[in-house]
Symmetry: D2
Subunit: 345 residues, 4 copies
């Protein structure tokens, strides 16, 4: 039985707390939140302990693993402290909004990277798992094109957007990870934003085109709003065939009348409902990794890679040109920057 | 080039006239209708000759084949006269509403049955053809269950119904032929009517359960009306799988909004639109049969068999019990009637 | 918190035990099974007590409610004992295979009928709930036709079938309850079985046609086996429109290749997976009924009504004629039997 | 009755010849092709005259209208000669592969632009017509995103590709017209090609992102090959909803087995089958425009606009940056070129 503490008793923290409660191999040992009201509410409904001092988590010998669901600016601190105190860590995405802080985090946990998993929940969706396995089995042949459609039902508050890092780092980052999951490393990113919000200065919509090192071309279509609910589709095409994941609905009921046929209910509305199964499977993958000692996947390097692609998207949307990932990667930028600055893109 | 005359310039006669015009191997040689106005209208728009004397058709040496689209009470006379004058005949269903007249017709054309085809148009629908070929190829294994859903968009006029022979002989007869086409000969018929119309005394809806000699069980669900259009579905199930034909829509466009997802237009409204391809394929099969001298299928014996099943349905709906086909078949009834009358069904 | 005991630690008992564990308002207080091994296994994995003496359940003051998941022959005894000991009862269907025993049970619990719920789980399926609510809201108008397709993925063992009461009482009973749920009381039943198994003497397939008192016509298509999984569809049609529930699949992934398009995985395989949500909702409805003191629905009278329809189906399949429900109902049979025996059906 | 000549007796010329034959308001008066064999074959099967001298068409007083289905390099000459000889012209796309020749053509037919229609057949597809009408009716609100998926079943020959002007001018041009049809004029084009063919030097796949002047963002996903047939989908999204057109299949039959459910046949294979209805509707629109004297739509200006967008795509794919349409338009380029050359894109 793995004793798990959850840091953060907000919306996503509660999702993880419920997953921990429901998993047969985990025990919810502690809930931490700077707000004692929130921490207490979650802990009491689960019959467990709570604290408003996050350091209690790291000092607690009974805690084997930590789920980091705190606000994004605290993720790195909590990851580092978790690893330092010998605990396995499952952190919500993004690791941080600043690539340099992510790199600093990696520096600090060096040698223990295999103890940290990043919560790209969609990788654990049963449909996405099926697509990936079929792609690996050769059902479509060498992947040539991927199209990810990802539209939220409605935008978050302007306050949230203002501190979110923008659509590419906040929302698209899931789709960027999906592209890496399905076609591997990305070489160039081209992004076009639209529907600029005068209040937040952020785009409400965007389309990205990514060239993978494999030669595949991936397209991401994003919007912060969608009338009929949470639009989450993926299409993977190769010379032998195509795999596609359709949206989910609450029921399989359709309605026909004199005006129409086979009308169905709007899509399942948002990520908590749509990815309920994925969050549970994600926790299960984490638990198995902790038990076997193997590196969990996706790891913190995957979190870094997705953030780097988001940074490329920001740059591309601002300049109107495709951005080579190497250009913006601190690990490689010194060498390539002069060349690309010269416009030979 | 096959010179074809069309007898009957009503709705279905016009369908056949158009098919003859469009077929590369046929010429519309003559249009006959007791109404000179109707005959003339169809003939002139097609640039051909017309007559209001149907006997002109049979006397015309330039006519190779006749499409009988006259009112049902004239079918037998026109079939017999057509065959007698050496012409191939494609007749609309039903051959007649009275099985004895059909048998008399068969008697009169004995030896020339292969010159007459009966227009069960649905057999030529591309989807039904695909299902039949796959069934023959063993895709579902030995057929166990067939479900035919057949609902018209709206009922015909009370006048039409009054002379139609009732729902089983007028509407279900197509579905009865479909069952024979897919599972072969039928042994027993059970029929339950409902929605009895006080004006016409006919049922607006019915469900039939037929036991095939093969052991398969076929279900037919009928209604004279259906809000979302012409409901025409077929499902064939066996131990290895199932084949099903869905309804057709005018376009493949779907609409999603805040209230619903993937709403589509109502089904294609009625038989002229839904089976346009089938009418053309039916004529083509007739033309090929005339050319090769082979017996066309479905033949007049198929028309007789479907009518016999409809008679069984009438009896079953009136008595509340399953009716053995042998019971009502004049060819076998003498022997079996006393037994079944005794209630040992 | 409602303290619940589960009697029966077999397959369906375990489903209920898990539902009780997962429900926030219930506690699994005791597991009883004549097999101590089974009882212990379920209880220990749930961290609760167990017994191999079912009477312990009724004697236990800490138990508020009982889930009866014992073999069918014990249902009545356990219902009666549960009610007698002051506990609310949720019993698996069927109440019994013998209508007289059900009537005896009703006699014994007279005045406490509102303390017993019968587990027709499909009523609680989210899709069926949606259909019912829309029917009540008038979306299709007055219901005219219902078609229930219900095919199991594969037959149970011959031993099970031999003691099951036959396909109508064992399998169709769910569909009979569904028809009552959607169109109300049934007046006549016509049933045709096929695929008679030489070993068990039971039909592997059947089609039923039921006339509701409302005038609606309901069709049930059953099979003990289906190649592509658990086939569970419902269609409700009225003058204003149609509602239909499609099958469920494990994911929303489709696959297209050179040979086909949009191929999907087989249906969710069987009832535990297909109706997982329904079992949880059923328990929740039971808990709410116990709390409010209102009679749960479906109650034992619904269990009796479905069994009576199954008896009618057995009679109809044996005689080839439609059976009036009144004929076989002990409560009304005396009066109507002579008439129907005279053949005026 | 409109007397129509068809220039070009190749694949697409034969499509038009058939449409002219089938249309009740047109007569196929003459077929012209440099190959007398081809011209004769088409003309004789249609029972009309033929010539291998294209000038015969323009000199023929009995010809009212001309369908230009000659090889692309001859389009402009035939359009100009047709207009000069007083005939209405329906020309296949593209008008030419060189924008300057298109502009020269426009110059030569100045004042008679309303006599020329360009054959962007997809505009006349019933599904696309439905989408456009619903967009105009406000069903989705102000259009925000369009996604056009367009994949051919298999690539043309290397010889064809070599003279085709490349994927953007040959294949994407239809999708570029579709975007203009649905969201109006385009401001910028970003194109990314992949799957570079070493033989032809052309891309086999590409993704384009276009910013419309309205602010809408349109995405085009192209491939020269697709395993399951001709992939032709369109999605239009706005704040109130989404409209999407699915692929067409030969029948509505689906097949389920132990390994899968609802497998269907591959998509209708290519444009002649998929757009058969659209070609007929296109001719009908042309005939109506000729009769009323109104300018047909799409006109030659639409042909020019689509070609200009294709030129922008070529430039963008070569440079990796978004291209402003004004940059490459000879009509506006002088003014804007210096600025964009300065990199302020």
């Amino acid at each position: 039985m793995l004793n798990v503490a959850v840091i953060g008793a907000g919306r996503i923290g509660r999702v993880h707390a419920r997953s921990v409660l429901a998993h047969p191999g985990t025990r919810l040992a502690l809930v931490a939140d700077a707000s004692p009201v929130a921490a207490r509410e979650v802990a009491e409904s689960a019959g467990t302990r709570w604290t408003d001092q996050v350091d209690d988590v790291f000092a607690d010998d009974q805690v084997d693993a930590v789920v980091v669901a705190s606000p994004t600016p605290f993720h790195v601190d909590h990851i580092v402290a978790g690893v330092a105190s010998g605990k396995a860590v499952l952190t919500e995405k993004p690791v941080d909004l600043d690539l340099r802080r992510v790199d600093a985090c990696l520096e600090q946990i060096r040698g223990s990277e295999h103890r940290v998993m990043v919560g790209f929940n969609r990788r654990f969706d049963a449909g996405i798992q099926e697509i990936r396995q079929r792609v690996l089995a050769g059902d479509v042949g060498e992947v040539e094109q991927v199209v990810v459609t990802s539209r939220d039902p409605s935008p978050p508050s302007p306050e949230y957007i203002a501190s979110s890092g923008g659509i590419f780092r906040d929302m698209t980052i899931h789709d960027l990870d999906m592209v890496r999951f399905l076609v591997g490393e990305v070489a160039t990113v081209q992004a076009t934003g639209h529907q600029l919000d005068p209040v937040t200065g952020d785009h409400h919509g965007a389309v990205l085109v990514l060239t993978a090192r494999s030669g595949a071309l991936a397209t991401i279509v994003n919007s912060r709003h969608n009338a009929s609910g949470y639009d989450q589709r993926v299409e993977v095409v190769g010379p032998r065939g195509a795999l596609s994941q359709a949206n989910h609905r609450p029921t399989a009921v359709s309605y026909s009348s004199a005006e129409f046929s086979d009308r169905q209910r709007p899509w399942v509305n948002f990520f908590l409902e749509r990815y309920a199964q994925a969050y549970a499977a994600e926790l299960d993958a984490f638990v198995r990794a902790v038990r076997t000692g193997e590196a969990p996947s996706p790891g913190i390097a995957d979190g870094r890679a997705a953030l780097l692609l988001a940074d490329c998207a920001v740059r591309s949307a601002a300049t109107g040109r495709a951005v080579a990932v190497e250009e913006l990667d601190p690990a490689t930028a010194t060498a390539v920057a002069p060349t690309t600055a010269g416009g030979q893109q």
